[in-house]
Structures are given as structure tokens and as C-alpha cells.
Symmetry: C2
Subunit: 138 residues, 2 copies
């Protein structure tokens, strides 16, 4: 974990360095699956993220190449967060985690229809969710 | 994150409660994919886990239904850790994380042959790894 520049790094260890923080994965979820784009939307996640944690995690995600800060030409004061392709490629990881949780958590909020679609054709659902996220970011 | 008993919990949040700790996922990796069974093997992971962290994470994994402590009849002093089916069902999550890391980390240690097998037939590889882990635990 401390050998950040070492060669032959375990892929699980690399992933944990990039998104192995509970808040980072929840921010990814909100940006990729809930269509959130702005700081004020992200701060209102139901898990109650603290403002300093949200800000630091977004900065780390920018450094790690997961999000890009954007401003719209018509209103340069507003900042939007867009996911990179590297981040969108985590949608399959999010869905696989969701499948596992839905199996073992009796309080899971996953809509049964979504789980069924994932079971029947995971790649199709992955493509749809990634495309929807790309469209929202334009 | 604080509403542990709330209904309609987000599946990502549930997963993070159970294994959203970098060490837990590394211990899972060692038990599921590296064939480690004992404390003395786990303490020698190359990431250098501290002994108190390893002990506390193993206890939490036991409470969360991921591992079972076993003793062999022929030597009751030795403790072995076996993964439950709930934990073995995280093998697809580990592999999906591995696929992502291997794509984006230029120092990844993933053997190319393994990645190719995963790409070609993920379910076959998942079944094989789970079966190998079950056999080792007997």
C-alpha cells in the first residue's frame, strides 16, 4: 500500500488507492448513476457527506483522472463535474457490487427490475448507463 | 452511512459497510485468490498489514459473515480461516476490479493470460477460482 511507485503492483491494491475510500465510491455512484453534476447536488447525498470530505475527494478524483471540472460558457461561475472514460469504466464494478449487496442485504433498495435486467444481460445495462451518463455531461 | 438499520439502503453503501475498507478487500484477495488460510500467512501480505488491523478486520469479517474460524481436529491450536459462500460471491467483484486496474495501471502485475481468460469467459474463470478456494478450505 505504501509502495505507490513500485512495479508489479497488485491490481486490487491499485484500485484501492484510487477508489478504495467509501466516500469516493459513493460520489462515483452519484455522478455515474444518479445524474448528479454539481457540488450542491453531491453534498445532498443521503449518506450525509461532510463538505470538507466531498471537496478533498473531488480533488483527489481529479488528480486520479476520474473527474474533470467544467464551466459552462454561459455561466462561468458554475462548476460541473464530468466523469472520464476511466471513471465510466467503473460502472461494471458498481453494478457487480450492487448485485452482491442486493443478494445479501435484506434492506436493499435496488429495484428488482434493475437487478433482473442486470442478471439477464449485464453488458446491455452497462452500455445504457454509460451512454446516459455521457449524454448528461454534454 | 450512519443509518445502519434503515430500510431501502443503497446497495453500494451496504457493500462499503461490509468491505469498504482497503484492508478487508486485500484480506479477501489473499483468502480467495492466493489460497492463504492462516493468520501467519495473511500477516505476510506484501502491503504490510499491521497485526492489530489484521486481527480487527478478521473479527469484523467474521461478524459480517464473510469468514469462519476453524480448528483442525488433529491440532486444535491452529486456527484456519474459511470463506463463506457470501465471501466467495465477491470473487466476481474482485475480478471486475482487477480488470479495471489492469486497464489503467501501467504497473499492473496481472498476468496477461489471466486477463485474457477473464475477457473471453468471465463466468468460467469465476467458477474455477471459487471451486479452487472451496477445495482448499476442506
Amino acid at each position: 500500500m505504501t509502495e505507490k511507485s513500485s512495479e508489479n503492483r497488485c491490481p486490487i491494491d491499485y484500485a484501492l488507492e484510487v477508489f478504495g475510500d467509501r466516500w469516493t465510491l459513493l460520489i462515483l455512484r452519484d455522478l455515474a448513476l444518479s445524474g448528479k453534476r454539481q457540488y450542491r447536488d453531491l453534498i445532498n447525498s443521503k449518506e450525509g457527506i461532510a463538505t470538507n470530505i466531498l471537496a478533498s475527494r473531488l480533488r483527489k478524483m481529479e488528480v486520479d483522472g476520474l473527474v474533470i471540472r467544467q464551466r459552462k460558457p454561459e455561466d462561468k461561475r458554475q462548476v460541473f463535474y464530468a466523469l472520464t472514460e476511466k471513471a465510466l469504466d467503473l460502472v461494471p464494478v458498481l453494478l457487480e457490487i450492487g448485485r452482491w449487496s442486493t443478494t445479501y442485504d435484506e434492506n436493499s433498495a435496488t429495484p428488482p427490475a434493475l437487478l433482473q435486467r442486470y442478471t439477464e444481460d449485464p453488458q446491455q445495462l452497462i452500455n445504457e448507463l454509460q451512454e446516459a451518463a455521457r449524454l448528461k455531461q454534454r
